[in-house]
């Protein structure tokens, strides 16, 4: 009797199935162990810092020589610089995104804009920092300031915002636009009142991404904002030094003389991680609820 293909290749097939199973186990193991490792590390940070945290620490002034100082001005500066940089970068970034998605003709100029967006997105943050330093400290001559840090940080935000906005807008179906145009709306009205609201989910996710990145950025702040603050709380002066919490974490870890430096560093790291988690969750939470609702609505009812 002639053997079938299956019989003559039995060994090859068996080994293929065997390696396939091995591969599954291997990939699964790598993924799971990496996730466990990273989550474990983050958990260590939170576990070491959070239990020691007190409201006092969040709002009191830092102390250079004695234990027990807080991070008040640094935390305040972090948010102040973040919000300023977002105010500066949101209109321009979203505008650029709208241009790329809606207006950009297919020519050299668009190609140029696209290339600059991508290049700007890959510029190392330390180069932005040096740029801020040259611009504000050397040419404008105002020294290390909050406004310098915010403007430089805004440059870091811009390309990401532009790209995210462009992607979100391109995902909006064409017929919505056509419906709006058919009702007599101008193109700008269509974009502002129809397309942008429809793309809002994507844009918000992008903003949360940008906010996290800007909040944790330290190289730029060191060069354009300095490592210290004006020294008292609630200082809205744009020209005082703009050290933020990540910078303080670095400073405490490398140069500080305070006896409780390790503890301050642990607590600051925990706050940083916590705030980043909060920023991402507050933006994504409404999205999750929304998708959940649409899912429930979409499931056919039994009748």
């Amino acid at each position: 009797m002639r053997e079938s293909l299956f019989h003559s290749h039995r060994k090859a097939i068996a080994s293929a199935i065997y390696t396939n199973r091995l591969f599954h186990m291997f990939v699964g193991m790598i993924t799971v162990s990496t996730f466990i490792l990273i989550i474990g590390l983050l958990y260590t940070i939170l576990g070491k810092g959070l239990p020691k945290l007190s409201l006092d620490f969040l709002f009191t002034l830092p102390n250079e020589l004695e234990a027990g100082g807080g991070v008040g001005p640094f935390l305040f500066n972090s948010f102040y610089v973040l919000i300023l940089s977002l105010i500066l970068s949101l209109p321009i970034g979203i505008g650029a995104g709208i241009f790329l998605a809606e207006y950009a003709p297919n020519n050299r100029f668009t190609e140029f804009v696209r290339t600059s967006v991508e290049s700007l997105a890959s510029v190392p943050s330390i180069v932005f920092g040096l740029f801020g330093y040259v611009l504000f400290v050397e040419y404008v001559g105002i020294g290390l300031t909050i406004i310098g840090a915010a403007v430089t940080l805004a440059l870091l935000n811009l390309p990401v915002l532009a790209r995210v906005t462009e992607e979100a807008i391109q995902a909006v179906p064409q017929d919505i636009r056509e419906a709006s145009l058919a009702l007599g709306a101008t193109k700008s009205q269509t974009i502002l009142k129809v397309v942008l609201p429809a793309a809002l989910n994507g844009i918000l996710t992008g903003i949360s991404l940008v906010a996290c990145r800007a909040f944790g950025e330290s190289a730029i702040i060191i060069l354009a904002g300095g490592t210290s603050t004006s020294g008292f709380m609630w200082d809205f002066n744009l020209l005082s030094q703009g050290g933020t919490l990540p910078v303080h974490l670095w400073y405490v870890q490398s140069e500080a003389l305070v006896p409780d430096a390790t503890e301050i560093a642990q607590k600051s790291a925990a706050i940083l991680v916590l705030i980043v988690l909060i920023i991402s969750f507050t933006v994504r939470f409404p999205l999750w609820i929304q998708t959940l609702i649409t899912k429930i609505k979409a499931t056919p009812r039994k009748s």
Partner: protein
């Protein structure tokens, strides 16, 4: 009696034309606002390149090209500005990071895209996105407080700082980015290619390695290069674990230095109008140049018309 009615009609028409004119002015204004903001990104990039290169190239007034690029003696107090240690260090560190990061990131991407059940996907993807947002300084802090003591204990070296610690920290930082983009690239491979493979009797492994990965290759390469740009430009995480000494550290456990860490450690202590400062700006320009070249490579990888 027809007159007032006519009058009202004309007035009404005039008002309408005014409204129309306003509407179209607004329309055009919005268009130009968008155009200007898009243009301003280009302007920002160009001014960064010009400012940094202008300051950086001043270094060649005092230091020869040869010395800057090929001399390994970095002793600013004795007027010796050889940046070879830092340039080689940056390239070497990036290479190490890639070697460690790529297989793991690919495994994660394949697992998420091809194997994980939906509920697990819905947990893992947002988690990776979250990890991208963790500040780099936190990773550096982790390396400094957990990884370095661990390296000291296991290898018995005195310091523990060096390329190994830096590469591990960078791997952890870059991993989510590379995994997430590769995952997108793998998911973008059309389903029917896979089905054709299965119909021919392939196992999942064969479909993945012979069909899906080759089809997703441009996307995966883009992911790896984007990871590279992050690894090259990362400053604060590296500065905390690399040791900051101007010497070669090929054996992975010797304290050494790279472009970014050297810039950030020294820039605050130097005069703006000094050769030292110009040398640091030149190093920043090198970083900028490398990342721009990488972006051009990515653009070449992309199929035309997209």
């Amino acid at each position: 009696m027809a007159l007032p009615a006519e009058h009202v009609r004309i007035q009404h028409e005039q008002m309408k034309t005014k409204q129309w004119r306003m509407k179209y002015m607004k329309n055009n204004a919005f268009r130009y606002a968008c155009l200007v903001s898009a243009l301003s990104l280009g302007v920002a990039l160009f001014s960064i390149v010009i400012f940094i290169s202008q300051t950086g190239f001043l270094v060649f007034k005092d230091v020869s090209w040869k010395e800057f690029f090929f001399s390994a003696t970095w002793e600013p107090f004795e007027e010796k500005y050889g940046a070879a240690v830092f340039i080689a260090g940056t390239l070497y560190l990036t290479f190490l990071t890639l070697i460690m990061c790529t297989p793991i990131a690919l495994a994660i991407a394949i697992f998420i895209a091809e194997m994980a059940p939906n509920w697990l996907k819905n947990i893992m993807r947002p988690m990776l996105d979250l990890l991208v947002g963790i500040p780099s300084i936190v990773y550096g802090f982790l390396g400094l407080t957990i990884l370095i003591p661990f390296i000291r204990e296991t290898t018995g070296t005195l310091v523990g700082d060096g390329f190994f610690a830096a590469a591990l920290v960078l791997t952890m930082m870059v991993l989510p980015t590379v995994a997430r983009i590769s995952d997108d690239a793998i998911c973008a491979v059309p389903q029917h290619l896979r089905e054709a493979g299965y119909a021919l009797g392939s196992t999942k492994l064969q479909v993945i390695t012979r069909i899906v990965l080759p089809a997703a290759r441009p996307g995966i390469l883009t992911a790896i290069i984007l990871g590279m740009t992050r690894a090259i430009g990362e400053t604060m995480a590296v500065v905390m674990v690399i040791g900051n000494t101007a010497q070669f550290g090929w054996d992975l456990l010797t304290p050494t230095s790279v472009l970014t860490s050297n810039i950030v450690m020294q820039i605050t202590n130097v005069q703006f109008d000094s050769t030292w400062n110009y040398a640091l700006y030149m190093m920043a320009f090198l970083l900028l140049f490398i990342s721009l070249v990488l972006i051009i490579i990515i653009r070449q990888l992309r199929p035309k018309g997209e």
